[in-house]
């Protein structure tokens, strides 16, 4: 080590200077964190309300008869259910019972699986016979123009909208795989797989119900 480098190292180790750096950086973080907390406090009620509305709309999309269907509040999740979902590679975050004219008509699951840019939160509806009645996306951060095609239910190469092809699938079809019994969207394989994983997890949990 040359003398000059040593001298530089010595200067930057000056305790007073280090203290200044620490205090400034800590102060900045503190101010930013405080402002973030403040903004979060102001915006949280609005954002929660919007998310609730989005959840209700998503629930309506995944049942067979949206107009006749009613939904319970989120049911309590048992350890078996969360274990079944994570066994299939996704996280179960909520479960709603669906009733049609007061008769039980299946369940709707909110599952979270990982896409290409982050988590994909989706709603999967199944009827009493564990057959998928619909899949819809609640929130995602997939790449606009690529993964967003899957999220937007655009048609695959075969012409069927990518999310609609899950309708009618049941545990009898075995594990669903992209390229096997599910068509992905080219260029967006990871996003397509993410959704497929979520549906598999929902079916795994549905098999435990009733």
């Amino acid at each position: 080590m040359s003398a000059e480098v040593k001298e530089n190292a010595k200067v930057s180790m000056d305790p007073k200077y280090i203290a200044t750096l620490t205090v400034r950086l800590f102060g900045t973080c503190l101010v930013v964190a405080f402002l973030l907390g403040l903004v979060n406090m102001v915006t949280l009620p609005n954002i929660t309300a919007r998310k609730k509305a989005a959840t209700d709309a998503a629930l309506k999309q995944v049942v067979e008869n949206p107009d006749a269907s009613e939904f319970s509040d989120a049911l309590e999740l048992s350890d078996d259910m969360t274990a079944a979902a994570s066994g299939a590679g996704a996280t179960l975050s909520a479960l709603y019972a669906v009733t049609e004219d007061a008769a039980p008509a299946g369940y709707a699951f909110t599952v979270v699986s990982s896409g290409s840019q982050g988590n994909i939160e989706m709603m999967v509806g199944v009827d009493e016979a564990d057959v998928v009645t619909g899949v819809s996306i609640v929130s995602n951060s997939e790449t606009p123009g690529i993964g967003s095609k899957v999220m937007g239910n655009e048609p695959t190469a075969s012409g069927t909208p990518v999310l609609d092809q899950f309708i009618g699938k049941s545990p009898e079809d075995g594990a669903l795989t992209v390229g096997g019994n599910i068509d992905g969207i080219s260029g967006a394989t990871v996003s397509s797989r993410g959704v497929t994983t979520g549906v598999n997890a929902a079916l795994a949990v549905a098999a435990l119900m009733d």
Partner: protein
């Protein structure tokens, strides 16, 4: 401060994408339809301008050795606040631009301009720099969107025009674009990431050629005088 020269710098001679080569990741990822380019361009321009102002305002209390760390904290915090506020109070805008905003935190144009311009210049000049660089970025995005959308999907104005677009009673970002090329002709390759690389490379090469040419011309004129 000289607005005209700053504008020329942002748009041409020091264009953030084609000359500084900043923000390439977002440039290639989102330039598949006209609306995406416009949305990302507007979001970056606004946030770049505001973050430039903030950085310029606090530049005297930021120690040299930890400036990058402080820039990151300030920019990430600021972008998150904008994101939350949009989600809560302007849901329509958040629906259409929301996906771009988290991407901006990692867009190196913001950090690049903080480091190379607003850390060394006043608030007003930094604001102008943000606007000019933002416009330069937006223009490149739009050019790429138009090329990739036309050759890759055969449409123009995706997300805004065409069936389901805003003039067809649809929401922002929903339109399919006006079809120009019949369906069997477009090269799908161009809408995929590899197409982004190709189009960007061609644009950068064209830009460098044009800059070299105008430089050579200026030198020749100077020599003649």
């Amino acid at each position: 401060m000289d607005f005209k020269s700053q504008f020329k710098e942002g748009l041409i001679t020091n264009n953030p994408v084609l000359v500084q080569l900043l923000g390439l990741c977002s440039t290639m990822a989102i330039t598949t339809s006209f609306f995406n380019g416009l949305g990302m361009g507007i979001a970056v321009t606004i946030i770049l301008t505001l973050s430039n102002i903030i950085i310029a305002a606090i530049r005297n209390i930021v120690p040299d050795k930890i400036r990058i760390a402080m820039f990151i904290v300030v920019i990430a915090g600021f972008v998150t606040m904008v994101d939350l506020l949009l989600q809560a109070f302007v849901p329509a805008l958040s629906e259409s631009l929301g996906v771009f905003i988290p991407l901006i935190v990692v867009n190196c144009i913001i950090l690049g301009r903080a480091e190379s311009f607003s850390y060394k210049n006043g608030v007003a000049a930094s604001a102008v720099d943000g606007i000019c660089q933002g416009i330069g970025y937006t223009v490149v995005l739009l050019v790429m969107c138009v090329i990739r959308e036309f050759l890759g999907a055969g449409t123009f104005g995706g997300g805004i025009l065409g069936p389901g677009g805003i003039f067809d009673g649809g929401a922002l970002g929903a339109g399919k674009g006006i079809t120009i090329l019949p369906e069997q002709y477009p090269m799908k390759l161009l809408t995929l990431p590899v197409g982004g690389f190709i189009v960007l490379a061609v644009l950068i090469a064209a830009m460098q050629w044009a800059l070299e040419r105008s430089k050579a011309k200026a030198e020749k004129e100077a020599a003649e005088v």
